[in-house]
């Protein structure tokens, strides 16, 4: 199977699993359900202003380039030729084009196709980074991983690096655990094992962190 197609299938599967995991308390086939796992509800003081801003394509691409240690023009190019942020998805990602299109200010609300464009940018950048890591003498993320058979500790350390570099903070234990456990979800897929599974896991882990609300808004 083509590697990019595999990643695409895994994204769908991950979404499905994530959605399914949100329903663990539902009865199945009328049978009594398993005890609902209780998650402690964290008390927080909500924002009084709620003035969260969309990062916009240019800022997002700059941040990804910095976090993934990629040249800015290597972050995402549609068909390998056209910059995703500056050209192809410019308006959708909050940019302007006043000269020919007359779009003088960013769209007043986020476009309905913005998540699709954002996903493409993140996935392209993460794929580029991990491919480079696998062939580099000084990788950014896969620094101490035995890609053929990574240990839980190596996966956890790599997960922490994603949070450190992409979000600029320590990952919480839950976040590390979720990413590390996701490796077994990947290896459960047909054709996913060894180095291929580790590669796809790394791309998708990077993608997951890079497409969190925390990464896209500020």
């Amino acid at each position: 199977m083509h590697p990019e197609r595999t990643v695409g299938i895994l994204i769908v599967n991950f979404s499905f699993l994530a959605a399914a995991s949100a329903c663990t308390g539902e009865p199945k086939n009328g049978a009594p359900s398993d005890p609902v796992p209780t998650v402690p509800i964290e008390r927080v003081t909500a924002s009084r202003q709620a003035r969260v801003k969309y990062k916009s394509g240019a800022r997002y691409a700059n941040d990804l380039a910095g976090a993934l240690d990629l040249p800015r023009d290597a972050v995402c190019r549609e068909l390998g030729r056209y910059d995703c942020v500056d050209e192809v998805h410019r308006i959708v990602l909050g940019g302007v084009e006043p000269y020919t299109l007359g779009v003088r200010e960013p769209l007043p609300s986020i476009a309905v196709t913005a998540p699709i464009a954002q996903d493409r940018v993140a996935l392209a950048a993460c794929t580029e980074r991990i491919e480079r890591d696998l062939g580099a003498s000084a990788p950014v993320f896969l620094t101490t991983v035995d890609v053929d058979a990574p240990t839980p500790g190596e996966l956890a350390a790599t997960a922490r690096r994603f949070y450190d570099r992409i979000l600029g903070r320590e990952a919480t234990p839950d976040e590390v655990s979720a990413l590390a456990q996701f490796h077994s979800t990947v290896t459960d897929e047909p054709g996913e094992s060894g180095a291929i599974a580790t590669r796809d896991w790394a791309i998708l882990s990077c993608f997951m962190v890079a497409t969190t609300l925390e990464s896209i808004f500020y």
């Binding site: 927080v44 003081t45 924002s47 202003q49 003035r51 990062k55 800022r59 000269y99 200010e105 500020y218």
Partner: protein, 514 residues
Amino acid sequence: MHQQSPCITARSTAAALAFAVSWAQPAGAKPVAPREFCRIYPQTPVCASGAAPCTTCHTTPPARNAYGTQVESALLPGTPRPLSDEQYLGGLPDALRAAESLDADSDGTSNLEEFQAGTLHVDANSLPSRFVRCDSEERALASAQPWNTCAYDPVYALRRIGLDFCGHSPTRGELEAVRASNDWQVLLEQKLGSCLDSAFWQGKDGVLWNLANAKILPESSLKSGDGAADLTLADYEDDYNLFVYINTDDRDVRELLTAQYHAIREPDGALVRVDRTPGEDILARESEDNEDVAQLVPQDRRAGMLTTRWFLAKNTMFTPVPRTTAAQAYRAYLGYDIAKMEGLRPVAGEPVDFDRKGVTAEPCAVCHSTLDPLSYPFSRYDGIGGGDEEESLDPDMEINADGTVNGTFANYASGRLERFVREAGPQIVEAPEAGLLLGQPVANLVEWAEVAANSEPFARKVVLDYWRLLVGEDPQPSDEAEFATLVQRLSSEHGYRVERMLRDLIATEAYGAP
């Protein structure tokens, strides 16, 4: 290309308006009403400019909105219509009070509460802020969170500064330094200072450049200079360069309207002030391969962004009374969009209709009694010629001894309106160069610009542009004190220096409280 009569829209909807007027008789808008409203409610945000917008009571005058209908039904009931101005002013206070406790948009908040809060009384989605300060328990909880949602959070502010001004997030090291420092204000200001010099902020197509889009209204199909189109009128890059130049470093932002120089961008990206006569600019910049780029208005007739080659060509084109130009200047630099009935200050005896456009018709006069006196000072500046050009055009654009040129393209000509007699009628030459802006008489456009630049609406618009850009929305009622302070300090302590105002802005709770 053509310039529409400013009253074409009103004319084309005359039938609809006639119907509305006859259906709603008597429904005349009262030009005396906006000031009377603000005499009664002087402290409300809607009266910040001294007169309430017509949309307080009307949709499109004379048609009333829901609030206007409430006031009308309480206004001297039983008295035959139409009311004289004296009757109207006599009855208005009681009618306004009668409508105070009503709720025109049925959003659960009375009209008076909405006026006091600065929200829209005829929009159910516009509600007073329910902003509640944190109590002690919430403050304790918030201070332990990743973001302190109950106070100004310097780490959050640093992140915003990095993204807003530099175009990327600060490093983890920078964040940790601010988190650990008691002197974090200094670190934030240092970060801001370095970002204000970044290409992301002041480069071509950067943040400041794009802040000027709605003021300059560029069109690549008419561009000269780099990337010239087939049909070249002017190069708007001069406009962008001047805007960025004046908004950076220690420059007085009033020069957006008063500069008698322009700015060019060097190959390394640096902006350089240029003081040249039109003749000098032609000789310095124009060639067979680079035409239509020089600034042609004599230096002593320049008014910053209002008299650039692009602004005049794009907005005035070939109209004798350049209402579109004046309206764009009023909108872009004073924040009043006449098309939205904003900033109306009717002038007695206006409009006169010097160009036979029908502006004295009642539905037109509502706006043109303000717009036309705003426009007269622009009437001596050519856009792209027009009128009987062949009688006065110097095809060779000969340079005079004083450095001026004689052409009818983006130039000043005191006798300009004489060319339009055949097109607009003999009375066109009676249109004065003098006008009125914000209630103040002005002799010409240079004075117009001086009055505008020193006005409160100008300072407010400068701050509002940056507030929207950086905070992400219009100031809310709970922000009014911080916003007003920014406006006040820009024009006093800061001497109209934008970068000093920005140092204040990043220190507001609106910016730095998550």
